[in-house]
């Protein structure tokens, strides 16, 4: 079955809270079974073994975890490190903000969609410096 490519406005990875919690657990300790992961879950995310297994299955389908059969159970490890996944996530968001494919959902100190040429920035820099010098003279 062919997977439909995500539309430009919908390319943010969809990760639920439990998926993120399991990923965090795998970043801390690699090679864990669903059973071990369930026991390590914080009380706020307590759930049944089958829920954990289903969530891990989803993460596997999203290519975010690798798994290996050991005996009767699978052992899981994160496919991407925390900073790699963060980089991927942010890279996608920034690219979409730059190209205007993502509706503006955040306020950044300098707008991501702003484009300058070096001359303009140098001129603005000079302007600021002149003002600072003038203030220093007073």
């Amino acid at each position: 079955m062919q997977t439909k490519p995500p539309s430009p406005s919908n390319t943010l990875p969809r990760l639920g809270e439990l998926e993120l919690t399991l990923l965090k657990a795998l970043w801390e300790t690699q090679d864990q079974s669903a059973h071990a992961l369930r026991h390590g879950l914080p009380a706020s995310h307590a759930c049944s073994l089958s829920t954990v297994q289903t969530t891990l299955e989803r993460l596997h389908r999203k290519a975010l975890v690798l798994r290996e059969k050991q005996g009767h159970a699978y052992v899981y490890r994160a496919r991407l490190g925390r900073s790699e996944l963060l980089g991927k996530l942010l890279g996608g968001v920034i690219r979409q903000l730059h190209t205007g494919n993502l509706a503006p959902i955040l306020s950044s100190f300098v707008d991501f969609a702003d484009r300058f040429d070096d001359d303009t920035l140098d001129q603005l820099d000079e302007l600021v410096q002149r003002r600072l010098e003038r203030r220093g003279d007073k």
């Binding site: 943010l12 100190f109 991501f112």
Partner: protein, 306 residues
């Protein structure tokens, strides 16, 4: 009952579009005034301006269908069933009312799905990935970025790349600016503006939305400048723009409209005075008079429908 409800709905929605068109046509005349007043006040005025269309439409509809009030504004006339005071009704209102309601609902839901949900998801994900500090969350990414994300409880995110590329004073400036966004709930303000203008055709509200964004940014710049100085904030903007410029992906948009340049120039210009209360009162009164003046013709127009 169905006839009355669909007439009320049709009246409100048509008036929303009408007032939307009217406010869009008048907006260019207000722009120069808005550019010359305090940005915090200007951003509130623009949001209020965008809210006029749905609110004035609702008020006018309420008056038209409230006999106690309408009797003072609608000239007396009789129908086949007598001369009592009445709200205008149209038997054919149901289909156009349903179509208009579906269109407006679709536009608002689309706006929420494209903005509210992705931002919530992104905020939750970044909060999980980042390291929670006292005032902001650090993202372990080399990409230089600093932003506020979230609607009701916004959070400030600053990447490790930005922290390495900027001086301590620039980071202070960024934090003060983003703290102002968080305090003013600017993301929510912008979302509200987009929802209020969602039913209007695509390009109508663009200018007002762009001006709102610019004024929100300017207001936060001034908040930071009150603690540091206008020149310090302007300098930080130039330096951060340089850092971001060099890290921008190759497929970036060509220059369309440059908010940052306008913000730097505004910071170096003379401070702007707030709008006098009398002018705000006069504008509010003008809107009220327009609404009241419309009641009689509106009543007649609805009755002209079959």
């Amino acid at each position: 009952m169905v006839t009355l409800l669909s007439s009320i709905l049709l009246c409100w929605l048509m008036l929303w579009l009408f007032f939307g068109m009217l406010t869009t046509l008048i907006y260019p005349a207000l722009r120069s005034t808005l550019h010359n007043i305090d940005p915090a006040q200007a951003s509130t005025c623009i949001l209020a301006w965008l809210a006029i269309a749905p609110c004035a439409a609702l008020l006018a509809t309420y008056i038209v269908y409230s006999p106690d009030i309408a009797q003072w504004l609608v000239t007396g006339h009789c129908h086949a069933d007598g001369c009592r005071i009445h709200g205008p009704q149209s038997t054919l209102a149901m289909v156009p009312a349903a179509l208009l309601a579906a269109w407006i609902l679709y536009r608002i839901v689309d706006c929420l799905l494209r903005q509210w949900l992705p931002a919530r998801r992104l905020c939750a994900q970044l909060s999980q990935f980042g390291e929670d500090g006292q005032d902001f969350i650090t993202l372990a990414s080399a990409q230089p970025m600093a932003f506020t994300l979230g609607w009701l409880a916004p959070k400030v995110f600053i990447s490790a790349g930005m922290q390495h590329a900027c001086s301590a004073e620039d980071i202070d400036c960024i934090l003060l600016h983003e703290a102002a966004h968080r305090q003013r709930r600017d993301n929510l303000r912008l979302l509200m503006a987009r929802i209020l203008s969602a039913p209007l055709p695509g390009l109508w509200p663009v200018r007002a939305l762009d001006d709102l964004k610019l004024n929100c940014e300017k207001a936060c710049d001034l908040h930071a400048a009150a603690k540091l100085s206008r020149e310090t904030v302007a300098g930080a903007l130039v330096r951060v723009a340089k850092v971001q410029q060099h890290a921008a992906p190759a497929a970036s948009l060509a220059f369309v409209g440059n908010l940052t340049e306008q913000r730097i120039i505004a910071l170096l210009d003379e401070p702007q005075a707030p709008l006098a209360n009398q002018i705000v009162f006069a504008m509010g009164s003008a809107v009220m008079l327009v609404v009241l003046a419309m009641i009689n013709p509106l009543h007649r127009v609805v009755e002209l429908l079959p």
